[in-house]
C-alpha cells in the first residue's frame, strides 16, 4: 500500500510544474546546455520509473533525497520539525482521551440528565467547528482578551528553557487539535457504554449484588472501551490533518508548517518525504489499533 501511495505521489510531483529546473531557469546567465547538464546530473532526464526506483532504493537505505531549496538532506529537515508535531499530537490525544471518555461515561450513566444534553450537544458542536476557526477564537478570547495564554509559538522568545512556559504555549494548540477528537470520543464512549449496560451479564452482575461502582468500572467500562481502540487508530488520519491546520494558526514549527512552506517553494523532495511520513503514521496507527484490539478482546484473534 505504501508503494502505491509513494508511486502516485512521485509521478504527480514529477508532472507538476516548477521544481528544481524552474529555480535554475530564473538565472539569466544559464544557457540551454547548462540546463541540460544539470538535468542530467540530477537524473531528471531519465524515464520516470527509473527515477522512482532510484528514489525508492535510496528510501530503503534511509536516504530521503535532498531539498531543492537549500540542498540539505530531507530526512534531517523533517527530523528537526517532527518532535514539535509529535508533542502537539501527544498532548491533543491526552486531552481528548481523558476529557472525552469521562464526559462520555457521565453522559451514559446519567442518561437524559442536563449534563447529558449539554455534553451531547457540545460534542456535536465540537464536530462541526472548523479547526482553524476554533484556533482563531481561542487566540481572540484567551490570548487577546484575557491574556491567559500566548498567541503562538513554542516558547517565549529569548527566555531560558522553562517547562511551565512550554506548557502554557502548548495548551492552546493542543486543545484546538484535541477538540474534534474529544467530541467524537465522548460520543462513542457514550453509545458504547449504553450498549454494554443493556446486556445480560451486567444485569446478572447487578442481581448477584455486585456494588454499582464495581459494575460500572469493572464490568461496563472495560467492555465498552474495547471498540474505542479501533476508533483511536482511525482518528490518526484526522489528527494529522488537524495538526497541520493548527500549526498554521498558532505558528507552531512542526511538519505541517514545513509542508505548507515546501508547497509554496515547490520543494518536491520534502513534500514527497512528508507525504510518505504521514501515510506511514496513519498506517502505523491503524496497525497498532488492530494489534491492541486483538490483545484486549480474547474473542478476536488475527490469523
Amino acid at each position: 500500500m505504501l508503494v502505491g501511495v509513494s508511486f502516485a505521489a512521485f509521478v504527480l510531483l514529477r508532472l507538476a510544474p516548477g521544481g528544481p529546473m524552474a529555480v535554475y531557469a530564473q538565472n539569466p546567465t544559464m544557457t540551454e546546455a547548462d540546463m541540460r547538464r544539470i538535468e542530467h546530473i540530477l537524473g531528471l532526464d531519465q524515464p520516470i520509473h527509473v527515477q522512482y526506483l532510484k528514489w525508492a532504493s535510496g528510501m530503503a537505505t534511509g536516504n530521503m533525497g535532498y531539498s531543492y531549496r537549500d540542498g540539505r538532506p530531507v530526512g534531517e529537515i523533517i527530523l528537526e520539525r517532527f518532535p514539535a508535531t509529535l508533542q502537539l499530537m501527544g498532548a491533543a490525544y491526552l486531552i481528548a482521551i481523558t476529557l472525552g471518555i469521562s464526559a462520555g461515561i457521565v453522559s451514559a450513566v446519567r442518561r437524559h440528565s442536563l449534563f447529558d444534553y449539554c455534553a451531547t450537544t457540545g460534542a456535536m458542536i465540537g464536530l462541526s467547528v472548523p479547526t482553524f476557526w476554533f484556533g482563531l477564537v481561542v487566540i481572540i478570547v484567551f490570548a487577546g482578551m484575557l491574556h491567559w495564554i500566548p498567541s503562538g509559538g513554542v516558547a517565549t522568545v529569548g527566555m531560558p528553557y522553562s517547562l511551565a512556559d512550554r506548557l502554557l504555549h502548548l495548551i492552546g494548540p493542543a486543545s484546538t487539535v484535541g477538540l474534534w477528537m474529544m467530541a467524537s470520543w465522548s460520543r462513542f464512549t457514550r453509545s458504547s457504554m449504553l450498549e454494554v449496560i443493556g446486556q445480560d451479564f451486567i444485569r446478572t452482575a447487578r442481581a448477584k449484588g455486585v456494588r454499582p461502582r464495581t459494575v460500572l468500572l469493572r464490568h461496563t467500562l472495560r467492555n465498552a472501551l474495547i471498540p474505542l481502540i479501533t476508533l483511536a487508530g482511525l482518528e490518526f488520519r484526522n489528527l494529522v490533518s488537524g495538526a497541520l491546520i493548527t500549526e498554521t494558526v498558532f505558528a507552531w514549527p512542526g511538519i505541517g508548517r514545513l509542508y505548507l512552506d515546501s508547497l509554496s517553494y515547490q520543494d518536491y523532495s520534502v513534500i514527497l518525504g512528508l507525504l510518505l511520513l504521514t501515510s506511514v503514521l496513519v498506517l502505523a496507527g491503524g496497525l497498532l489499533a488492530d494489534l491492541l484490539y486483538a490483545a484486549a478482546d480474547p474473542r478476536i484473534r488475527l490469523g
Binding site: 500500500m1 502505491g4 456535536m124 472548523p130 487566540i139 481572540i140 487577546g144 494529522v240 501515510s279
Partner: protein, 301 residues
Amino acid sequence: MALSSARATAFDGRDSTPKSRRNRSLAWAKFRRNRLAAGSAVLLLVLALMAVLAPWVATRDPLRIDLRHKFAAPGTPGFVLGADELGRDLFSRLLHAGRVSLAVGLLTALIAVTVGSILGALAGYYSGTLDAVIMRIADTLLSTPTIFVLLALSAFLKPRFSTIILIIGLNSWMSVARLVRGQILSIKQQEFILAARALGAGDRRLIFRQLLPNSLAPVLVAATLNVATAILTESSLSYLGYGIQPPTATWGNMLNNAQAYVRVAPWVAVYPGAMITLTVLSFNFAGDGVRDALDPRLTAS
C-alpha cells in the same frame, strides 16, 4: 425500512407500494418529532434561500472596496455586520460566500455519493478480483492524510471552483463505497433477488433497479454527513490559501487574512467561522435525524 420496502418491491417490481409509503410517512413523522433535526432542516432551508436570493437581499456589491469604511464596526449605517480590511460589506460577502460554500458542499457530496455508490455496488455485486481492486484503492486513499493530499493536488491543479469540487469529491467516496458494498452483500442473498434473476433480470438491471434502491437509506444519511465534511474541508483549504481564490469570497478564504487583524477587528474573523459552524452543525443534526427516522432499530438514544 430498507428491509420491508425491499420485500414489497419484490412482489410487483415497483417501489411505491402502500407498505413502503406508510413506512415513509412514519419516518417523516419521526423526523419531524425530532426537534433538533427538524430545526436544523428549517435552518438549512433558510440558509439555502439566503444563498439563492443573495443578490436581492444584500444589494451592496460584495467586492466593492470602500477604504473610508475600513474595519467599520458592526452596526455602522450601511454596514449591518461591519466591514473588512478593504471596507467591503461583511453581510453581503457572507451571503455571497455562502452560495459558493454551499454549492461546493452539495456538488462534492453528489460526486462522492455517485462514485461511492457505483464502485461500492460493483465491488459488492461482483466479488472477487474487482472487489479486491476497488477496496484496495479505497484502503490506500483512506491511509493518506486527507489535507496533505488535497493541498498537494490543489497546488498543482490551479485551484478553481471545478477542480476543488473534483478533488474533494474524489477523495471522499470511500466511506460511501464501503457502506454500499456491505449493504449489497447482505441484500443480494435475499430471496427477491433470486426471484428477479429467475425472471430474467440482467446484472445491470439487478444492480440499478433492485440492489441500489434498496440500500438507499444509509446512503442518504452518508450524503448528508458528506456535505458537512465537504464544507469543512473546503473551508480549511481556502483558509490555507489553496482553495477557491479571491476575489470570489468563500467562508474559508474570508478567514484567510482575518488572523492578521484579530486585534483590530475580531468580528471579521468571527462571522465566517460562525456561519460554517452553523451550517455544518445543521447538516450533522439533520443527518442524525434522518438516520434515527429511517432505522427502526435505533430508538432515539
